[in-house]
Subunit: 198 residues, 2 copies
Amino acid sequence: MAQEKQLVVGHKNPDTDAVVAAIAFSHFQNEMGMNTEPVAQGEPNKETKFVFDKFDYKYPRITTVADTDKVMLVDHNEDQQSFDNIHDVEVTYVIDHHRIANFNTNLPLYYRAEPLGCTSTILWKMYNEEKVEVPGNIAGLMASAIISDTLLLKSPTTTDEDKAALKSLSETAGIDYQSWGMEMLKAGTDLDDKSTQD
Amino acid sequence: MAQEKQLVVGHKNPDTDAVVAAIAFSHFQNEMGMNTEPVAQGEPNKETKFVFDKFDYKYPRITTVADTDKVMLVDHNEDQQSFDNIHDVEVTYVIDHHRIANFNTNLPLYYRAEPLGCTSTILWKMYNEEKVEVPGNIAGLMASAIISDTLLLKSPTTTDEDKAALKSLSETAGIDYQSWGMEMLKAGTDLDDKSTQD
Ligand SMILES: [Mn+2]
Ligand SMILES: [Mn+2]
Ligand SMILES: [Mn+2]
Ligand SMILES: [Mn+2]
């Protein structure tokens, strides 16, 4: 029986992790037999565009309105950060590393939150647990999301699991995360939207 | 360095799963190196008392007020079902199989919800994932919690994972879950508090 399609989405004003986690979780779920499509709630910022160019990955469809009855949320849970019509759809999964607030469901669901530096680190654990292979280009995106959220493992939210995930994903992607991390963080800063004001 | 003690608690007006899940998760966390104590938010109902007598297990301390700074919640998440002073403490873990509502945190946390028939089924999965042995008497309590929540695998919320958990835990506990299930459900009904009104 064909699975009913579900969208996978990160928060509004997406950062690298929000878009990458949607792609990585959608790929994981499809490998597990689900039928999902990753979407983004906005245009890529400069850092995110630089990352997608580097790994030659197509940026997902942009929408802030769910056009499926069921959805999966990544890298957020709060209503105001989610689809405009979030109250009209069923949330079946949440994968997140933030506090929980303004989130209510009518039905039981899968919810996995861990106090780690990045949603992509949790997803890396899920790939490992279920022995699903991370494709090289998605590994590059996920490594970049960890670099972005943890400021190259320097933020106070960084955990040993983020370090292990970045190391492993960088090997899969064939990148040196120190040099790539400096390059992408610099690109995000240099080309930041704020710089157009300067 | 000694771990700071944390309480593990189920919901108010506890049913068998609420008390058993607190005991099972506390034991699991202590095996993982944490320092936790399970507590119950009320006296056992007749079914729960019958279960604790059968497996010769001491009912936990009863309190509706947390006397630790950090707490772990099982089998519930809604504020009104939790400790009276839930807003004054930090929730570090939630393990639950209910919808999410009226639950807010200031900080990131571990949250694991799955749409299964019983919290004890999720805990059985966690023991397996981390290769922690379930002691025989706790296995008997967990099997009983699954029987209670799923009405001996007959409720519409019952999943294949609940069936697998009940079978496995019954073997560990050395019980025939069909005969024990009928006995404990009957005891809960026969000796129900309502019967004192008859
Ligand atoms: Mn984000
Ligand atoms: Mn993130
Ligand atoms: Mn319960
Ligand atoms: Mn329950």
